[in-house]
């Protein structure tokens, strides 16, 4: 996480064609968005159809149609199948879509704002803060089986506090002092919080399994309650990030140029990072620390859609939704009927994919 700091100012990555000759690439935007939407819908269908218990495809489709207002279909799905489909898979799919979209959209925004390809949604201490919050909730017993929302609440508060601490530490004489200071402060905050978390774990070795289970990410336990928490945040994040994506491109040309173009760099950066951090904190609160999604999905999107953030941000949200939903299908089927932590899947797929992307980018340059 500390390496990217050295390259504080990589080459400007804005897609020049986007401004010089707007009509041609913009023509591609709609088809690409349609492709992303299609991928998300297809992934959702796979998520509803595939799991450790084999449900007949016809019955599942029938039961889904039956739920549509006005439609009545005899589907033949038994009670257990109905429970599995609507109470277990359905919220899991929705949450996979939402968390994937939040992490990937935030990742794209972070990378754009910091002009750093290695930036990910956990850069400003979100992961360490959420991890410490969750660890505290678990070791104090607040988040036992009776815990309800104690764990997500603690993780969320931890994440938000960590980002606030990072932002506060990066101020110089009360004023923002640029992206590099922010990244450095994030690294310091993350290291400190990780140390506290390790100490707590040492003192509470009996909680190791619960804490690590959370750290590796889990969509396995979620239900409608988590969905209700996440959806409002998803809507706000999607609207803000998609509307602000153009400004990320403007920021990329440099602060002074941005100012002459009518964008105030400091407040714009702060607002985008605040929304992205809130989105990440929410995602982490309900699903634990799922790695690599916020990193590889935006990079993959840039391969097919270029580097203009007006396309990268929304497409990252769509493809991120699809990717995480499919990763969750793998998490519950690879070792069925046992679950694999979803973080293991995303890292296992993500690390090689990331290398491939890096190599192909080097080839281009």
């Amino acid at each position: 996480m500390s390496a990217p700091v050295a390259a504080a100012r990589p080459p400007v990555t804005v897609d020049d064609r986007d401004r010089v000759a707007p009509p041609r690439p913009r023509d591609l935007t709609l088809p690409l968005v349609a492709l992303g939407l299609g991928a998300a819908v297809a992934a959702a269908l796979v998520g509803l159809l595939v799991g450790p218990i084999r449900l007949p495809v016809g019955a599942v489709v029938g039961a889904l149609v039956d739920r549509l207002p006005g439609a009545e279909v005899a589907h033949g799905l038994d009670a257990a199948g109905t429970t599995i489909l609507f109470e277990i898979r359905w919220p899991r799919v929705i949450l996979g879509l939402a968390v994937g979209a939040l992490l990937s959209g935030s990742g794209a925004a972070y990378q754009g704002v910091f002009r750093n390809p290695l930036a990910d949604p956990y850069l400003l201490g979100v992961a360490a803060g959420a991890g410490l919050g969750a660890t505290l909730a678990i070791v104090t017993g607040t988040a036992s089986l009776a815990g309800g929302f104690a764990l997500p609440a603690a993780a969320f508060v931890g994440a938000v506090l960590a980002v606030l601490a990072t932002a506060g530490l990066s101020l110089r004489r009360g004023r923002p002092s640029g992206p590099a200071a922010l990244i450095l402060a994030g690294v310091a905050v993350a290291a400190l919080l990780a140390a506290v978390q390790t100490y707590l774990l040492q003192r509470h070795a009996d909680s190791l399994r619960a804490v690590y289970g959370w750290l590796l990410g889990r969509l396995s336990t979620v239900g409608w309650a988590e969905v209700r928490l996440v959806l409002p945040v998803l809507i706000v994040t999607a609207v803000v990030l998609v509307l602000a994506a153009g400004r990320i491109d403007v920021l990329a040309v440099g602060d002074e140029e941005a100012t002459t173009l009518g964008v105030r760099p400091g407040p714009t950066r702060a607002a985008i990072l605040a929304v992205a951090s809130l989105a990440t904190a929410t995602a982490v609160a309900v699903s634990g620390l799922i790695g690599f999604v916020g990193l590889i999905v935006p990079h993959g999107v840039r391969l097919i859609a270029g580097t203009g953030n007006r396309r990268v941000v929304p497409l990252s949200m769509l493809f991120g939704a699809a990717f995480l939903t499919l990763a969750d299908v793998a998490a519950r089927t690879v070792q069925a009927p046992a679950e694999l932590p979803i973080g293991v899947i995303t890292a296992f797929v993500g690390a090689p994919a990331f290398l491939l992307i890096l190599r192909s980018q080097q080839g281009r340059a």
Binding site: A80, T83, R92, S144, L145, Q202, A205, A336, A338
Partner: protein, 331 residues
């Protein structure tokens, strides 16, 4: 923080030395030299090795491939495992115990300290001047370090079944010089287990169960100690399919939809809350929930292999007895 760090720094050379000495040591079958502070006692004529070591001390005992040599009846015992702490007090060795680890919270009179059995500090342990240390596993060459410091160590690995748990009580009685009490205790526990098992009528169709550790549905299979207890009653573990080859060491994370499909007769929740379990996505419709057979267990009783495990056995028996006949009523 500083004091912990300086303690660690101070302990480092001792640990390194201990590791070195351990590496140079002979194989485990040769009788170990008596600890230096017990020279005189060790020089006493040896007892007949074939006789029941009931007669007393000095004592040499093979436990799990290691030889434990005790010059005299230990009077300053340190226990670093909650299970052995409970066992020590059950066999009447309580007065001989000077310190127990931070998780040893039963019985109430146990001298709980901040000693850790997971990240033990040799200096802190030696500070209690023990003449016997009992551990359930050996993190970071703890045993070698303590023996280098002249402290005899008894390693009692986690029991794999009820018989193993009872045998450990016998061992604790022997090494603490409470043989008769230990024998009485073990006999009465055996009687209670037998009575509990006998109280359950044999089931034509084996009833199924899951032992759920947390809301992420981590479960214990029948390969675990706790699973062996359920096995005594002929119960079938629905989570076994999730860890067929033991890769998860008997503690797989179960898929919720598999649990819905398996729909076990009984659900056991160590440290859990039946209402919270029923509120987990999709689980409210389980037969066990509908028929009120989600059993909350005291967390410590189900995770320790001390004498209280028999309370747990009786609890299971009482629950199984409530199952309707025939047990499996799948439509």
């Amino acid at each position: 923080m500083r004091s912990i760090r300086s303690r660690l720094v101070a302990a480092a050379p001792a640990l390194a030395l201990a590791a070195l000495l351990a590496a140079c040591g002979g194989d485990a079958t040769t009788p170990e030299p008596a600890p230096p502070d017990a020279d005189a006692a060790a020089a006493a004529p040896e007892q007949d090795p074939d006789a029941e070591p009931a007669s007393g001390f000095p004592l040499e005992l093979e436990v799990a491939g290691r030889t434990l040599a005790l010059a005299a009846r230990p009077e300053r015992i340190v226990s670093l495992s909650p299970s052995t702490t409970e066992g020590l007090f059950a066999v009447g060795a309580g007065p001989q115990v000077v310190a127990v680890d931070e998780y040893s919270d039963f019985p109430a009179e146990a001298p709980t300290t901040d000693l850790s059995g997971f990240t033990p500090n040799v200096e802190a342990i030696v500070g209690y001047d023990p003449d016997l240390v009992i551990v359930s596993y050996d993190p970071g060459d703890l045993v070698a370090s303590l023996e280098t410091a002249g402290v005899p160590v008894l390693v009692l690995d986690a029991a794999v079944d009820l018989d193993g748990a009872l045998a450990q009580l016998g061992t604790l009685g022997t090494v603490t010089g409470n043989v008769a009490t230990a024998q009485d205790v073990v006999r009465s526990l055996e009687d209670r287990i037998e009575a509990a098992v006998a109280s359950v009528p044999p089931l034509d169709v084996p009833a199924t169960y899951v032992h759920v550790l947390d809301d992420a549905l981590f479960t214990a299979t029948s390969a675990t100690f706790i699973g062996s207890v359920y096995g005594r009653f002929g119960l079938e573990n629905a989570a076994d399919a999730a860890d067929p080859d033991g890769e998860a060491f008997g503690y797989p994370q179960l898929s919720a939809e598999y649990l819905v499909d398996a729909d076990p007769d009984l659900v056991f929740l160590p440290g859990g809350d039946a209402d919270a379990f029923a509120a987990l996505p999709g689980l409210g419709g389980l037969r066990a929930v509908a028929s009120d057979r989600v059993v909350e267990l005291a967390p410590d009783v189900a995770s320790r292999w001390g004498p209280r495990v028999v309370d747990f056995v009786e609890r299971v028996a009482a629950t199984v007895t409530t199952l309707p006949e025939p047990a499996a009523t799948t439509p």
